[in-house]
């Protein structure tokens, strides 16, 4: 295993780098889109509410691989040429944002309606009340499930391997088929994923404790 790691060190690292990059972009983007969709789902405005609900119900209920394939195969045919990494990251973002939307929405719903009413009664606009009063409380409530979503996101980024996204899984597949050292290769790949996911796990737990 040490020899394998030494020989293919740079290949593993390249994969590791792409996985981190894809995960970071998808994490920030899906947190943003997910939060916006969560707010859409609870606003008084019916049109926005429908948009939020439809978005979540569609992307939560389609397999990630199908969404990613759509961006990798269909979009380049009709719209714009994008590479595997981009297609994979966009697919990952959209898919994850649907779950984050549901998580954040449940957080918003758990906050007493009186918080919103008091904010509005003081003359705050709906968006201000959400931003300054309701959402900060909602996020605090959903830190543990949000952590799960982040961890799932990192693991799901392995879908990039199917669309030539150069990520860890993709490099692992390449090394394994070249060396036939299947067991050792995937052990190493697994270990690299742990290097990303365990700190997230730990950090979310720390956040939960600090904010509780």
């Amino acid at each position: 295993m040490i020899t394998l790691l030494r020989t293919y060190w740079s290949t593993f690292l390249t994969g590791f780098g792409w996985t981190i990059l894809s995960s970071c972009i998808a994490l920030v983007a899906s947190l943003l889109i997910g939060s916006i969709m969560a707010v859409f789902e609870v606003v008084p405005n019916k049109t926005l509410r429908t948009i939020g609900t439809v978005y979540v119900e569609i992307f939560r209920n389609i397999p990630l691989l199908v969404i990613v394939s759509f961006f990798y195969l269909v979009i380049p045919m009709y719209v714009v040429k994008i590479n595997g990494f981009t297609a994979g990251t966009i697919g990952l973002t959209i898919y994850t944002s649907a779950f984050i939307a549901e998580t954040v929405r449940s957080g918003i719903k758990s906050i007493n309606i009186g918080q919103m009413e008091a904010s509005r009664a003081m003359g705050m606009k709906y968006v201000q009340a959400m931003r300054f009063i309701v959402l900060p409380q909602a996020f605090k409530v959903v830190i543990p499930p949000l952590g799960n979503q982040f961890i799932n996101l990192v693991k799901n980024s392995s879908v990039l391997a199917f669309v030539a996204g150069f990520d860890l899984m993709y490099q692992g597949n390449a090394i394994a088929s070249q060396t036939f050292a299947t067991v050792n290769t995937y052990l190493i790949v697994g270990a690299f994923y742990l290097v990303i996911t365990l700190p997230i796990s730990y950090y979310m737990r720390h956040l939960e404790k600090r904010l509780a």
């Binding site: 009186g114 009664a121 003359g123």
Partner: protein
């Protein structure tokens, strides 16, 4: 001049007729107490005044603006109409001082120094200067409600709505809160509308008492007349029940 005017107001929750043909004028500077059995529509009536509840028919004019007019900016009206809730509703993610300062900062765009000065003065007025940096969860219900009052006053409202401000409080806390409310109604020219079950308090602070039952205004009279010579049979029954305790 009328601060608040209801003209033939009807309010429905689905099929339930919550407010039935309300006609009511409240002048600037008046202190009006609303009483009535639970479910009679007192809270609903008060909540229509700052638009937390909409109305289905009629007109509701607050500070010269018709709430049923689509062009009326409800947020503008809300800066002039403060509200104190039964369950306080302090912002749970902000400390006491921030609770008082946040709306003047983001709604009125008040300068930070002036805002802080006013907030500290108000906290002192409600007797809670020493709690400025506590979180709402760290203070008692009575203290929370006094902070909520300070929070409303920080907007310098022309009118205050008190929706059962002491109903969620332990008995020993009630007096502190009512003292603060009394002080406000007496020392300022603000218009106040208070929903309460405390009759002795109504007798002390109100210029006028309105009895509401089943979504209708049953009686609306000067305070001493209301308690000494109630005209309506239902008012008399309600008073005898509630004053007997």
């Amino acid at each position: 001049m009328a601060m608040i005017e209801f003209r033939n107001v009807q309010k429905y929750y689905g099929k339930f007729h919550a407010l039935k043909n309300i006609n009511l004028k409240i002048d600037k500077g008046e202190t009006v107490v609303l009483i009535g059995p639970s479910g009679s529509g007192k809270s609903t009536l008060v909540r229509t005044i700052n638009g937390l509840e909409d109305i289905q028919e009629g007109h509701l004019i607050v500070n010269g603006e018709d709430l049923t007019d689509k062009k009326t900016d409800i947020n503008q009206i809300r800066t002039d109409v403060g509200m104190v809730f039964q369950h306080f509703n302090l912002y749970a993610n902000k400390d006491v001082l921030e609770n008082v300062m946040i709306a003047p900062r983001i709604v009125l765009k008040k300068s930070e120094d002036e805002n802080r000065k006013t907030a500290l003065q108000l906290l002192e007025r409600v007797g809670l200067s020493d709690k400025a940096h506590n979180m709402p969860s760290q203070i008692s219900g009575g203290q929370e409600q006094r902070v909520a009052i300070a929070r409303s006053l920080a907007m310098k409202p022309k009118c205050m709505l008190f929706d059962e401000p002491t109903s969620a409080l332990d008995p020993e806390m009630i007096e502190d809160v009512l003292d603060v409310i009394k002080q406000i109604t007496e020392q300022s020219d603000m218009t106040s509308i208070i929903v309460t079950h405390k009759m002795w308090f109504a007798q002390e602070v109100a210029n006028r008492v309105i009895f509401l039952d089943d979504g209708q205004i049953i009686e609306d009279r000067k305070t001493n007349e209301f308690f000494e010579h109630p005209e309506n049979e239902r008012t008399r029954k309600f008073l005898s029940k509630i004053l007997g305790h």
